[in-house]
C-alpha cells in the first residue's frame, strides 16, 4: 500500500474569515486506495478544509493538487470532471426522479451528453446505472421514486451517484450523519470495500469515533484550524494532546451538559 501513488496533496492551506483563522497552514497527502479520516471538535476547520478541496471555497493561500494537477480555486463541477466524487452531510439527490434516473443523470454528465436534446435518457447507460446500483446494494430499488426512499437508502444512492464518474478520490462529508447505528456500519463497510477494490482514495469527516477508528487507515486531527496530530488509529488514540484537546473537551462538555440538565 505504501507504494501507491500520491493522489491528493494539500500544501499549507490557510483560510480566515474576518481575522479568525478557520484553517491555518494545513498540509497532508492522500494515497490511492487509502481511507483517511479528518476529525476534530466543532469549529476545528473540518468543513472549511473540505469545502476548499471540492471547490466551494477559495483559500487565502496554499494549494490543492490532484495527481499533480492544481485544483485550487476551481469550480466544483470542474473538480468533479477531474475525478473527484463527493457525498454531502445531508444527502443531495434528485427527489423527483427514480433511483435509476438519479444515477443516469450523473452518467449523462460523465458521458458529455448534457446538451443532447434529442436522445432518450431512459435508454442512456441503463445497464451501467444498474451495475452501480447493484454495487451499493440498491439494484432492487432501481425503479422506485427517489423521494420515497428511507434515508439510509438515499445515502447509498448518493454513493452510487458519486461513483458514476469512476472517481479517483471520494470526498465524504459526515457520511453516516443522521443514520441508524447498523446502517452506519453497513455504509462504511461498503465504502471501504469499494475503495479497496477500485483503489479509490477516500477522505471523510466524521463525528462518530467508532466509525472513524474502525474504518480509517489514517487519521488527521484538526483543532482551531491547525493540524495537531496525524497517524494510524492506534497512534491517534494514544496521542496525549488529542486526548486533552479533543476527547477531553468532549467529556467536559458532557459533564456540564448533565449538570445543566439535572438543575
Amino acid at each position: 500500500m505504501s507504494m501507491a501513488p500520491t493522489l491528493l496533496s494539500v500544501e499549507d492551506l490557510t483560510k480566515s474569515y474576518g481575522g479568525v483563522h478557520a484553517v491555518r497552514g494545513v498540509s497532508f497527502e492522500l494515497r490511492a486506495g487509502e481511507i483517511l479520516a479528518l476529525i476534530g471538535p466543532n469549529g476545528a476547520g473540518k468543513s472549511t478544509c473540505f469545502n476548499v478541496l471540492n471547490g466551494q471555497i477559495i483559500p487565502d493561500s496554499g494549494r490543492v493538487k490532484l495527481l499533480g494537477e492544481d485544483t485550487t480555486g476551481k469550480k466544483p463541477r470542474v473538480i468533479w470532471r477531474m475525478g473527484v466524487g463527493r457525498t454531502f452531510q445531508i444527502a443531495a439527490t434528485f427527489p423527483t426522479m427514480t433511483v435509476r434516473e438519479n444515477v443516469q443523470v450523473a452518467l449523462v454528465s460523465h458521458g458529455g451528453q448534457l446538451f443532447n436534446l434529442w436522445a432518450s435518457t431512459a435508454r442512456h447507460a441503463r445497464e451501467e446505472a444498474g451495475r452501480l446500483l447493484d454495487l451499493v446494494g440498491m439494484g432492487a430499488y432501481a425503479e422506485r421514486p427517489c423521494g420515497e426512499l428511507a434515508y439510509g437508502d438515499v445515502k447509498r444512492l448518493e454513493l452510487a451517484i458519486a461513483l458514476a464518474n469512476q472517481p479517483k478520490l471520494l470526498l465524504m462529508d459526515e457520511p453516516t450523519a443522521g443514520m441508524a447505528p447498523r446502517e452506519r456500519v453497513e455504509l462504511m463497510r461498503l465504502t471501504a470495500r469499494i475503495a479497496r477494490e477500485q483503489s479509490i482514495g477516500v477522505l471523510f469527516t466524521e463525528h462518530d469515533m467508532d466509525v472513524v477508528f474502525e474504518h480509517a487507515d489514517r487519521i488527521l486531527v484538526l483543532n482551531r484550524g491547525t493540524l495537531i496530530a496525524e497517524g494510524s488509529p492506534e497512534e491517534v488514540r494514544g496521542n496525549a494532546q488529542v486526548r486533552a484537546i479533543y476527547l477531553g473537551e468532549g467529556l467536559v462538555y458532557d459533564a456540564r451538559h448533565r449538570e445543566g440538565a439535572s438543575a
Binding site: 423527483t96 443523470v105 443532447n116 423521494g147
Partner: protein, 629 residues
C-alpha cells in the same frame, strides 16, 4: 438651475407615496414571505375610498380625517383577505401566492369600476396646501412640500415602531426566522395578520394621499405595482430603509429621465433595476435569501414518456381536432386557431416552469417579440409568409438569449421580478419607438398569404404547429438535456457536484422557451393581422402563468389542457359578461386554494391513487367474491 431644483423636489414628492406603498410590501414580505401582488389594488382602493370620503365630508377635518379613515377601512379589508385567503396559502410555493394575489387584483379592478364607474375621478385639493410657493420664478405646489416632509416622518415612525415596541421586536425577529419565533410561543397567526394590516394601511394611505395630485382611475394599480416591484427589488425585499432610498432613486430617475431621455424614460428605471440585480441580486439593503425550501406535496410520481396506448389516444384526439373544419363555422375555427396558438405559448412557459423550475412573469415579451418580428419582416422587408414564420421567432430567441442570460443568475421571486422588468422594457420599446413599431397604433395589415388565409387552412396550420411544438418539447423533457434541467431544479448542489453547469443549462432552456413563445407570437400576428404593444403586456404574461397552473405545474404537458380550458373560458366569458376580470380573478383564486395541482395534476393523482388501491385491493376483492360464491 431653479428648474432642476424644482424637478428634483417634484421627484421627492412622488417618492413619498411610492415609499409608503413599497415599505408596506416590504414589511409584508419580510414576515410572511408573500410577495403581495394585490398591493397595487389596495393602493387603488385607498384612493377610491378616500375620494368618496373627502367628497362627502368637507372642511379640513373632513379631508384629513377622510384620508386616514380610508386607509384604516382598506386595512380592515386587508385583514379580511389575510384571514380568509392568505392563511390558506402561506405554505404554498411562492408562485401560487403571487398568482392568488394577482387574481385578487383582477377582481378589485372590476369591482372599482362597478362601484365608482369607469371614468377618471378628480379629487379635492388638500385644505391648507392649496397654493404654490414661488422658487426663483418656478412654482412648487405646497402639497408637494408636505409630501416631501411626510416621507421621512413615516420612515421615522416606522423605525420607532420596529425598534421601540414589543410588537416591532417580534416582527424583526420573525423577519429573520419566523419558525423560531413560532417555536418561542408567539401567536404567529395574529402577528402575520397585524403585519399584513400595517402593510395594507401604508399602501392605502399612499393611494389616498395621491388624490390631490392625480386623478383616480382603475388602471393605477398595475402602474404602481410595477414601480413598487422595482423599488423593493432595488432596495432589497424586507428592508424599509432600502424601500426609502430606492423610492427616492426611482422617482428622481423618472423626474430627470424624462428631461434627458424623453424617448426611453420608462426603460431607464428598469435598466437601473437590472444592473442592481446583477451586481447585488438581493438589492442594495437586502440580505441574500436562504435557499428556497422544498415545496411540500411535490410529486413523488416520476415523469414517464407516453405509453404506446397513450400515444394512440393523443393521436386520436389530434385527428378529432383536425376534423373540426368539417363541422364548425368560421368563428369557431378562428377561436380554435387562437386556442392552438395559446397552447404553443403555454407549453413554452410550462417547459421553463415545470422542468426548469423557473417561473417567468414576463414570458409575453418573447411572444410579442415573435409577433413584432413577423410584422416587421412582412411589412418592411416584404418577405413571404413561410420565411416570416421561420425568421420572426428568431427575434424571440434573441431577446431570450440576452435577457435570459441575466435572469438565470437569479432564482425564485427575484427571477420572477427580473423577467417582469425585462418584459416591461420590451413593452416600453414597442410603445415608445413609434417610428419603427408604430407605438400605440401598432403595425396593421399583417395578413397571411392565400394558401393559409381561409379560417380552416389557418386552423390546420396552427394546430399542426401546436402539435409539433408539444411533441418536440416532450422529446426535450425526456432527453439528457431535459434531465440535466430537472436535476438543476431538484438540487443545485448535487447537479453542480456531478459536473452540470446549471446556469448554462437554464439559459439554454430559457432560450428554447423564448423561441417557442416567439413562434406562438408569429402565428398570432397572422391570426389578428396586426401587432400591438399589448401583445407583450403584463396581462398576457399572467394569462400564460394561469394556463400553466390550471393545467398542473407538476405535469409534463398539463399546460395543453390548461391553455384550452382557460382560453375557451376567457373568450366565452368576454362574450357573456362585462365583468370578465371579476370572474377570472375569482377563478384564479379558486384554483390556487382548491386545486393547486391543476386539472391534469389532480386527474393524475386521482388515477394514481385508484391504480394503487385497485392493485392492492384486488386480491382481497377476488377472495371475497370466492367466499361469497
Amino acid at each position: 438651475m431653479a428648474f432642476y431644483v424644482v424637478q428634483f423636489l417634484t421627484g421627492l414628492a412622488s417618492a413619498a407615496s411610492l415609499f409608503l406603498v413599497a415599505s408596506g410590501l416590504s414589511i409584508i414580505f419580510g414576515v410572511t414571505r408573500i410577495v403581495n401582488f394585490a398591493h397595487g389594488a389596495f393602493y387603488m382602493l385607498g384612493a377610491y375610498v378616500a375620494f368618496t370620503l373627502t367628497e362627502r365630508f368637507s372642511g379640513a377635518f373632513g379631508f384629513w380625517g377622510g384620508i386616514v379613515v380610508a386607509a384604516l377601512a382598506v386595512a380592515a379589508i386587508g385583514v379580511l383577505v389575510e384571514m380568509v385567503l392568505l392563511r390558506r396559502i402561506y405554505h404554498s410555493p411562492e408562485l401560487f401566492q403571487l398568482l392568488a394575489t394577482f387574481g385578487l387584483t383582477l377582481m378589485v379592478e372590476d369591482l372599482v369600476v362597478l362601484i365608482w364607474g369607469p371614468d377618471d375621478l378628480v379629487g379635492r385639493r388638500a385644505p391648507g396646501f392649496k397654493g404654490a410657493i414661488d422658487f426663483f420664478g418656478q412654482n412648487i405646489p405646497s402639497y408637494d412640500l408636505f409630501l416631501i416632509v411626510l416621507g421621512p416622518v413615516v420612515l421615522g415612525v416606522l423605525w420607532l415602531l420596529f425598534q421601540r415596541t414589543r410588537w416591532g421586536v417580534l416582527v424583526r425577529a420573525a423577519t429573520q426566522d419566523r419558525d423560531m419565533v413560532a417555536a418561542l410561543g408567539v401567536n404567529q397567526k395574529w402577528l402575520f395578520t397585524s403585519v399584513f394590516a400595517l402593510g395594507v394601511f401604508l399602501a392605502a394611505l399612499g393611494g389616498a394621499l395621491q388624490i390631490p395630485r392625480d386623478a383616480v382611475n382603475h388602471a393605477m394599480d398595475l402602474r404602481v405595482i410595477v414601480e413598487v416591484f422595482v423599488v423593493v427589488v432595488i432596495g432589497g425585499l424586507g428592508s424599509i430603509i432600502g424601500a426609502f432610498v430606492a423610492a427616492v432613486l426611482v422617482s428622481e430617475l423618472n423626474a430627470f429621465g424624462i428631461l434627458i431621455f424623453p424617448k426611453i424614460s420608462i426603460i431607464l428605471v428598469f435598466l437601473v433595476m437590472a444592473v442592481v440585480l446583477i451586481v447585488r441580486p438581493w438589492g442594495l439593503f437586502g440580505k441574500p435569501e436562504a435557499p428556497v425550501r422544498r415545496t411540500p406535496g411535490l410529486t413523488v410520481n416520476p415523469w414517464r414518456p407516453l405509453t404506446a396506448n397513450e400515444r394512440l389516444a393523443a393521436i386520436a384526439v389530434l385527428v378529432v381536432a383536425a376534423a373540426l373544419p368539417f363541422v364548425a363555422g368560421n368563428y369557431v375555427l378562428t377561436v380554435g386557431s387562437e386556442i392552438a396558438i395559446f397552447v404553443i405559448f403555454a407549453v413554452s412557459l410550462h417547459f421553463l416552469m415545470s422542468v426548469g423550475g423557473l417561473a417567468s412573469f414576463g414570458h409575453a415579451a418573447y411572444f410579442g417579440l415573435g409577433a413584432y418580428g413577423v410584422a416587421l419582416l412582412a411589412k418592411m422587408a416584404g418577405l413571404p409568409m413561410i420565411a416570416c414564420l421561420l425568421l420572426g421567432p428568431l427575434l424571440g430567441l434573441l431577446g431570450a438569449a440576452v435577457f435570459g442570460f441575466f435572469a438565470v443568475q437569479l432564482s425564485g421571486v427575484y427571477f420572477a421580478m427580473l423577467t417582469l422588468a425585462f418584459a416591461q422594457i420590451v413593452w416600453s420599446i414597442a410603445f415608445q419607438w413609434v417610428s419603427v413599431t408604430g407605438g400605440d397604433n401598432g403595425i396593421l395589415g399583417v395578413w397571411p398569404e392565400k394558401w393559409a388565409a381561409s379560417p380552416s387552412h389557418f386552423y390546420w396550420l396552427s394546430l399542426g404547429i401546436a402539435a409539433l411544438a408539444v411533441v418536440i418539447l416532450r422529446i426535450i423533457v425526456f432527453s439528457p438535456f431535459g434531465f440535466a434541467l430537472r436535476a438543476t431544479r431538484d438540487s443545485p448542489l448535487r447537479s453542480e457536484a456531478v459536473g452540470i453547469n446549471g446556469k448554462r443549462i437554464q439559459w439554454t432552456a430559457f432560450v428554447i422557451a423564448g423561441t417557442v413563445a416567439g413562434l406562438a407570437g408569429a402565428l398570432f400576428a397572422y391570426l389578428k393581422g396586426s401587432v400591438f404593444p399589448d401583445n407583450m403586456g403584463i396581462s398576457l404574461s399572467v394569462d400564460a402563468l394561469v394556463m400553466v397552473l390550471l393545467g398542473g405545474v407538476e405535469t409534463v404537458s398539463g399546460a395543453v389542457v390548461g391553455a384550452i380550458v382557460y382560453k375557451a373560458l376567457n373568450i366565452w366569458l368576454v362574450s357573456q359578461t362585462d365583468w370578465s376580470k371579476l370572474v377570472l380573478g375569482a377563478f384564479v383564486v379558486l384554483i390556487v386554494v382548491a386545486f393547486p395541482k391543476g386539472i391534469v395534476g389532480t386527474l393524475e393523482a386521482f388515477l394514481h391513487r385508484r391504480r394503487k388501491s385497485s392493485s392492492s385491493a384486488s386480491p382481497v376483492l377476488t377472495s371475497r367474491i370466492e367466499t361469497a360464491e
